[in-house]
């Protein structure tokens, strides 16, 4: 194990955990749906970073982690498209994007 931080896999993994936690915190506390979507993006990115890190340090020839990361990026984009489309529909109806205002259905 080298002394360089940039060549130590644990530093990447910890960064990933921190980003994931930040995303988690975002989705837990924010009322604005856009912010929640951002939080989800952060969480997805943390996972992608994990994949790259593991495929780089665990078995350098293993590129399926890269494939997975690209897939995550693509699917995250698709998910963002869907989420934002629905969000705009909501905004047209309610003139608001806060979670407080989309709580018609309960019980």
């Amino acid at each position: 194990m080298t002394s360089l931080l940039s060549e130590n896999p644990n530093s990447y993994l910890i960064i990933s955990v921190l980003i994931f936690s930040a995303g988690m915190f975002t989705v837990l506390t924010r009322k604005n749906i856009l912010a929640i979507i951002m939080g989800i993006e952060l969480m997805l990115n943390a996972s992608a970073l994990n994949f790259i890190t593991f495929s780089f340090f665990r078995k350098s020839t293993l590129y399926s982690g890269h494939v997975f990361a690209i897939l995550i990026i693509v699917l995250a984009a698709a998910e963002a498209v869907v989420a934002l489309a629905i969000l705009l529909a909501i905004f047209q109806q309610r003139k608001s994007v806060m979670t407080d205002d989309i709580s018609d259905m309960k019980g």
Binding site: A22, L28, A48, L49, Y63, V67, A77, L84, A85
Partner: protein, 180 residues
């Protein structure tokens, strides 16, 4: 030197994420996310994942972020930009997050994974091979999925269709019920 840059990038990545998490303004949050995403792309480059990094920049920064920003512009309207991202109770969330992070980091360090020094080199060819061989099914199907998603998202926002739909059964029971 390398480490210095790495630390800078890492700070940006985590800092951007924290900005997203903590900012009272949705625009600032979006900028924090942008910062974090770009830094993560840089982290990819540190690990010789050039292709993924470029995808990240192109798709995320170029696509998703722009979409997000547009949505922010569209939806924020006249509200106060600096107070339009209110937060709920912070403390329980903080508790959960800290417990999670603590557990995760503990698990990481107690796992004793064996790591190998990474080998640097271009990855595009390998990824291309994988996509056209092992994961060709996924590769092909992603296109199907994206087409379907675009159709679905598109149909929601086609104004004239929406209007027609509303006109045809605009006074559906559902509407009335919700107005009560």
């Amino acid at each position: 030197m390398k480490d210095a840059i790495f630390i800078l990038v890492a700070v940006f990545a985590v800092g951007g994420a924290l900005l997203t998490a903590a900012s009272q303004s949705i625009i600032n949050a979006a900028l924090g996310l942008l910062l974090s995403l770009i830094s993560i792309a840089a982290l990819y480059i540190f690990q010789s994942a050039d292709f993924v990094a470029i995808s990240q920049i192109l798709v995320y920064v170029g696509g998703v972020m722009v979409l997000l920003l547009f949505s922010i512009m569209l939806s924020s309207g006249s509200t106060d930009f600096f107070k339009n991202n209110p937060a709920m109770k912070v403390f329980p969330a903080l508790l959960i997050v800290v417990v999670f992070a603590g557990l995760a980091i503990y698990a990481l360090f107690s796992a004793n994974l064996t790591f190998y020094p990474g080998q640097y080199g271009p990855s595009t060819r390998e990824i291309g091979n994988l996509f056209l061989k092992d994961y060709i099914l996924v590769f092909e199907l992603v296109s199907v999925l994206i087409v379907v998603m675009l159709v679905g998202a598109g149909v929601m926002l086609r104004k004239e269709l929406v209007r027609k739909a509303v006109a045809s059964d605009g006074d559906s029971k559902d509407e009335k019920e919700n107005k009560k």
